[in-house]
Amino acid sequence: MIEKHYDAVVFGGGSAGLAAAVRIAGQGCSVAVLERENELGGILNQCIHNGFGIQRFKEDLTGPEYAERFIEMVEELDNVSIFLETTALEVTHGTPHSVFAYSKRYGVIKIECRAIVLAMGCRERNRGNIGIPGTRPAGVFTAGLAQRLINIDGYIPGRRAVILGSGDIGLIMARRLTWVGVEVLGVIEIQGYPSGLTRNIVQCLNDFNIPLYLSHTLSEIRGKDRVTGVTVTPLQDGKTVTAKSFDLDCDTILLSVGLIPDNELSRKFGVSLNPETGGPFVDAGLMSSVPGVFACGNVLHVHDLVDYVSEESERCASFVVEYLNGTYNPLLHHPIVSGANVKYVIPNKYLPGMTNRFYLRSLIVKNKAELVISLEGEPLKRKNLAHVQPSEMVSFSLDEQDLSRGSESREKKLEVSIY
């Protein structure tokens, strides 16, 4: 078995892992990036549409363009080693940590390191996670898998498609399918409002007159070997109205019903996970419950913009470097929790004496909302938000001054609410 030593090992070579590796190596530490696929870039490689990098590069880039900019940066650094077709399998944590990975080229390798960055991204929820009645024929794909089949492998999955769920990947795929000659019969959404961005509803559905059935669900999938059709049923006050059901004759169903951070491996080696996000609980420096193990990108919480992934991952990497230099002190961090109308806030702790950046998700849809951060019940900071909705992540910062307001309590717990 090959054995190696690095200061830090990054699991995953997507946008999160690449941004973290560039920053850690840029500070003079040695880094290994383990990537399961045969190329770097992660999910960005299959997201050939534009809409990436508007904040980061002030340019409207496609996924592959955004990825290549980071790949080029990482390839220029000689203290980063890239292991492609290499899957991280197991970790025994301690000083140092031991990582066991399977590489197509070298077999099992063991890497000793002092810090680990989790950057494994997320998985798609599938039919098993949502339970649709009916037969189990071929022709049911998650939207991301269909995206990969079309954009990377050049394979068209069917002729007539129905999309379940109005998340952004499903919407993007409605346009992509139409443009490769597949007829999209409709997008079915169980909620009363779409879960994707308005921009995508307009450009991916309205442009092609694809119907969006809000407050509808798939009540049956038919077909023996291949899908032959589905039954769609409207919902009223949360109950299905069977009398108003209708059928659509399709041979393909795409599921766009949500993403889950991919933390099988993290859980196995004892990282404690937050049920609200599906990702690790992290302190102000994005370190998990296991000392020296950090997390960033979609493995931490699902992001809708890659620009935020890059920012978060670079911030994470700066703390990794502090950890490696022995100047990281998690005991100084205080808790921050979600209050009214907030699904979650990340990170779960803050550190007085520096600018802390947070990401949160709203539970409500509202124009002219107000974000209120309070310390032990006393409002500390307010921010006006023009518009909030669950599908659009909100970010805010608290600087040294905001946090210098005294509280006698030792816990100094902050709470974030949206009104």
């Binding site: 190329e39 549409h49 496609t62 363009e65 954009n151 443009w179 308005t198 450009q203 309205n206």
Partner: protein, 120 residues
């Protein structure tokens, strides 16, 4: 004529009602700022979209090479452009940003590669 649309120039997503007798006299209601008006006018007069797709790579490290139009393209030209894109076949080396189709149908819009295609 009247058309309802959503302004997508910012996340507020104002719901616009657009009415017009002729193309020189387009009235927009429901917009919270001036951008909404110009968005609606362009949507009525000359709607444009960026087109992204993939092209067959005859040889090289990947099977499909992603491409985009460097500017938004008039919607009416898109179906014909897609047909041309699907007939293309590329050979490495191709670099990101390289023009694959120049000045498509005289619109001034180019088709460019969005990824490098290296030799294997």
């Amino acid at each position: 004529m009247e058309r309802k649309m959503v302004c997508i120039s910012c996340p507020l997503g104002c719901r616009l009602t657009v009415t017009w007798e002729d193309e020189n006299d387009i009235a927009v209601k429901g917009n919270k700022c001036a951008k909404g008006e110009s968005y609606a006018q362009e949507e009525i007069l000359a709607p444009k979209r960026v087109v992204t797709a993939t092209v067959r790579a005859a040889t090289g490290a990947v099977r499909r090479l992603p491409v985009k139009t460097n500017l938004p393209m008039l919607k009416g030209y898109i179906p014909a452009l897609l047909n041309r894109i699907y007939k293309l076949e590329l050979r490495p080396p191709i670099v990101r940003g390289q023009v694959l189709l120049k000045n498509i149908e005289g619109t001034g819009v180019d088709l460019v590669a969005t990824r490098n295609l290296k030799k294997v």
